[in-house]
């Protein structure tokens, strides 16, 4: 039980201080793991390498990996609760409040003001990822093919994702 709490508190602290989504959480989790002596830095880096190659949010993958290694399935539960509980409840309560009052002129104005910003933030994410994703000529070829699949043949994004990975295994290896 003591360990359950310890894991919960560690991930609660890491997640709720990490502004900027999953990637921001990595150094904070690393600090918790090393301070508690749960893993060596090598073990942690090994785990991080797998986590970043899997689909899904980095933060919860990392919680699952560390939680299980420290305290089995109970550890996973503690880590996930720590990572998710507060932010999930907050986002629901705040967004719900916003939507319920979205017809009031005050909030309508505020939302009109924030939407261009959100557009810019998402575009910035694309830009940041793009600056590391286009590492070779092949990346541009893949991008071109992907756009044809998406806009001309209207394939589902998920299918294009899988196709690109298969393409990578065949061509880039």
């Amino acid at each position: 039980m003591e360990q359950f709490l310890e894991i919960f508190v560690a991930f609660f602290r890491a997640s709720n201080l990490a502004f900027g989504g999953g990637p921001a959480i990595i150094p904070l989790v690393q600090a918790e793991v090393l301070n508690h002596g749960w893993m060596t830095i090598e073990q942690f880096s090994e785990g991080l390498a797998i986590v970043t190659s899997l689909p899904g949010p980095i933060a919860t993958l990392l919680s699952g990996f560390v939680g299980y290694n420290v305290g089995g399935w109970l550890g996973v539960l503690a880590a996930l609760l720590g990572t998710l509980a507060l932010t999930s409840i907050l986002v629901i309560v705040l967004t719900d409040f916003l939507m319920k009052n979205s017809e009031s002129p005050v909030l309508k104005g505020a939302l009109t003001g924030v939407r261009p910003l959100v557009t810019v933030l998402v575009a910035k994410t694309a830009f940041d990822m793009g600056s590391s994703a286009f590492s070779s000529l092949w990346s541009w070829v893949i991008a071109g093919l992907a756009m044809i699949c998406l806009y001309k043949f209207k394939l589902h994004p998920g299918i294009v994702i899988i196709l690109s990975m298969v393409f990578g295994i065949i061509v880039l290896r």
């Binding site: 997640s15 989504g21 689909p55 899904g56 810019v120 910035k124 893949i142 990578g168």
Partner: protein, 180 residues
């Protein structure tokens, strides 16, 4: 009710389990499920949820999933959305040792290199979709917000949450009180 819960679960599971590259890679996939496929939210509502999500700490994908689930089926829906998002986390726990062995293979590296440009395109598309609703003709100054935000984002390291609060305050004064 059960059908809705299942849809939320499967929608979030599909979005996360194809989201390579952490939370942000999932934004366009969740948008596709929520706006295009199931019509749980409009593009505007999705942008608003994203704004709130961006200003809170913690992973972005789970925040979107829990709000979306809540919207569709209340608190049980939020739980269903979260569980869908966590599917890949359970896989890593169960297959941990096996995955360590495969994490360094050339094939996996090649696949991950190849998927990155696709993720970039999807996110750019997401930005475009959001942008279509973000700049109403009635309020041309919304372009000004975008330009100022771009400048701030690229020149400083101000946290997005602070920008969200500023943009909302500006919006309140610029657009909020005209009608009353």
């Amino acid at each position: 009710m059960y059908k809705k819960l299942w849809e939320v679960f499967i929608g979030c599971a599909r979005a996360t389990n194809l989201g390579f590259g952490g939370g942000p890679a999932m934004i366009p996939l969740i948008q596709r499920e929520a706006v295009t496929r199931y019509k749980w939210l409009t593009d505007e509502e999705f942008a608003d949820a994203l704004a709130i999500g961006n200003s809170l700490p913690g992973p972005i994908a789970t925040k979107l999933a829990s709000y979306m689930g809540y919207r569709v089926a209340g608190w049980p829906g939020a739980l269903a959305g979260l569980l869908g998002t966590l599917l890949s986390t359970f896989v890593i726990v169960i297959l941990g040792d096996l995955l360590i062995r495969y994490s360094h293979t050339a094939a996996l590296n090649a696949a991950l290199t190849a998927v990155r440009p696709v993720v970039v395109i999807l996110i750019a598309q997401s930005a475009y979709d959001l942008g279509k609703k973000a700049f109403p003709k009635k309020y041309r100054s919304t372009w000004g917000i975008a330009v100022v935000a771009l400048g701030i984002i690229f020149m400083t390291s101000v946290h997005p949450g602070i920008l969200v609060v500023c943009a909302m305050t500006f919006g309140y004064f610029a657009y909020g009180r005209k009608k009353s």
